[in-house]
Symmetry: C2
Subunit: 221 residues, 2 copies
């Protein structure tokens, strides 16, 4: 019985990694769709988000069944509750990738992103993809040191987000209002995507140590 | 023992209502701060968000203690897991009210919202406040019919969100890029606030019936 139970717990953990990988692919493809004005790829991301949603529902059901049948305490309970929360973050990250793809589709065959900020948006996309991949590794290894490093990548994302806003608001913006609104929302989607990746990493730290990242680093680790 | 347990469950339910009320006050004050260019009120909302965050942490701890000590099954388990999720929605709604207040503070002593879209933003604020109050009632009464009605208010919010975007993008916008970006983000915050309110209502339906809103209405209720 305990054997089967731990196998089920393992399944939950694996499912989280798989969701993280789906979300990583989604943000990578959404960025390409956006920058290369690729409608097919945009459609792929939009339709593909359902997979993430379904994965979350399956994982939720599994975790709740385990909670009901096995009545775990202490560490196992923490793992299950935290897994439910991680799944919610991942589901939201899928939504944000879909939002970016939808923006690409909305402006097709034009580009939602003007040449003047293309490089910054490209970099945001790269940081987002790197964070998604880093997050998947953290979910798989549960390495606390590695989890804490995601914060630094998020700082990079925040700087890019600010750069973009400065470029738009410094008075030398010639791309018009529609474009500014698109870029602003897009930038916000990437920034939120990164926030959720940090949140997932933070939850892994909690899952392993019983403390949140901030408490954990404060307590001198 | 069971008596104490049900009292604790009641406490969790009450705490959710209290959080919903805090969030309702926050969005109302944030809207006033934004439209009346009221810095003091903006600061109040920004500082006050901590109360919502603390309430969430307290509620989380309480729910997790109950899960660990009482090992509830079936309905009680569903109530606790769902309460954790509702608390996460409410915490996020507090963040969104804070974002709106921060925008008011950022542009002070100017207004972030130009006269030309003031009425639409005002209406968004009113719908958001109404939804927050409706949501608090639903949390308190657990009335499924009333919960399902939040969807309609959300449709209204979506229409206002679209109206605002049309006004900005119809070519007759004379307020400049910075202003358009502010209005776009602000509109997005209200729209997300409303989405979370619907999510809370949906979770109450699940809590009571064991089905999500969509399944519940589909099954002919």
């Amino acid at each position: 019985m305990r054997q089967a139970y731990h196998e089920e717990l393992n399944e939950v953990a694996k499912e989280l990694v798989r969701m993280a990988e789906l979300v990583g692919t989604a943000i990578e493809q959404a960025t390409t769709a956006l920058l290369d004005v690729n409608l097919t790829l945009a459609e792929t991301v939009i339709a593909g988000d359902e997979k993430v949603d379904i994965a979350q529902r399956v994982l939720d059901q599994r975790a709740q069944n385990l909670l009901a049948r096995q009545q775990p305490v202490a560490t196992d309970l923490r793992i299950l509750i935290t897994s439910l929360r991680i799944a919610a973050d991942l589901e939201r990250m899928g939504d944000l990738a879909r939002h970016i793809a939808k923006l690409a589709r909305l402006r097709y065959p034009s580009s939602a992103i003007p040449e003047s900020v293309r490089e910054v948006v490209k970099e945001m996309g790269q940081v987002a993809s790197r964070m998604a991949s880093h997050m998947a590794t953290v979910l798989s290894t549960r390495n606390v040191t590695s989890a804490l490093e995601l914060e630094k990548e998020d700082d990079q994302m925040d700087r890019l987000h600010q750069t973009l806003f400065h470029e738009m608001l410094d008075g030398a913006w010639h791309e018009g209002v529609e474009c500014a609104v698109d870029v602003a929302l897009c930038s916000r989607y990437y920034e939120r995507f990164a926030d959720h990746a940090v949140s997932v990493a933070d939850r892994v730290v909690f899952l392993v140590t019983g403390e949140r990242s901030r408490e954990y680093t404060k307590s001198g680790h």
